[in-house]
């Protein structure tokens, strides 16, 4: 799993039927220091996250499909949690 920040929303009318009703958010993976890491990606939202929130995402097909709750959904990333607080001891 990875930390990410929700940066935007995506609207798509023509899409695979298993995406019907699913919320698609643009998320930017971040480091522990909140710095952007890599390219922003699209994730389905299963927890009701909003823009600007820090979230926990899975980037693996099976886990993402289970988060969406639909079998055979062609997804590879999903938001599975909203981060309240992050404590790192170094």
């Amino acid at each position: 799993m990875q930390l990410a920040r929700v940066v935007g929303t995506v609207v798509s009318t023509q899409k695979h039927p298993t995406f019907e009703g699913a919320k698609l958010l643009l998320v930017q993976p971040v480091t522990l220091d909140d710095a952007p890491r890599g390219t922003a990606l699209l994730a389905v939202d299963s927890v009701g996250a909003g823009v600007h929130e820090k979230v926990l995402i899975v980037m693996e097909g099976r886990a993402a499909g289970e988060a969406l709750g639909r079998k055979g959904a062609p997804v590879d990333a999903a938001i599975i949690g909203i981060v309240d607080r992050l404590d790192v001891v170094e």
Partner: protein, 114 residues
Amino acid sequence: MQLARVIGDVVATVKDQHLSGIKLMVLQPLTSDGSATGRTLVAVDAVGAGVGETVFFVRGKEASFPFHPTEVPADAGIVGIVDHWDVEPERPAKGPEPRTGNREPKAMRQEPKA
């Protein structure tokens, strides 16, 4: 999933039999501001996307799910056509939001290029 622009298609006569009848498109992945990023790739098309359109695609074996029960040998697949996407400007600083009554700055709306 990732945003991408369809920049071409691939014609292959000799190919895995499970790929017959499936469109192969050339994709250029995009950043959240719509600029190109990373290497181009070829993806199977499950939604009828055309060249020039902005799409989102899935990586991995999930790319073959739309063609179930056919087991398509693909590692990337287009699963949606993007109408538009919005990137919210970053919030200034931490702390409670000031309640001024002013409207929030409008999100930067990204329209797919024609």
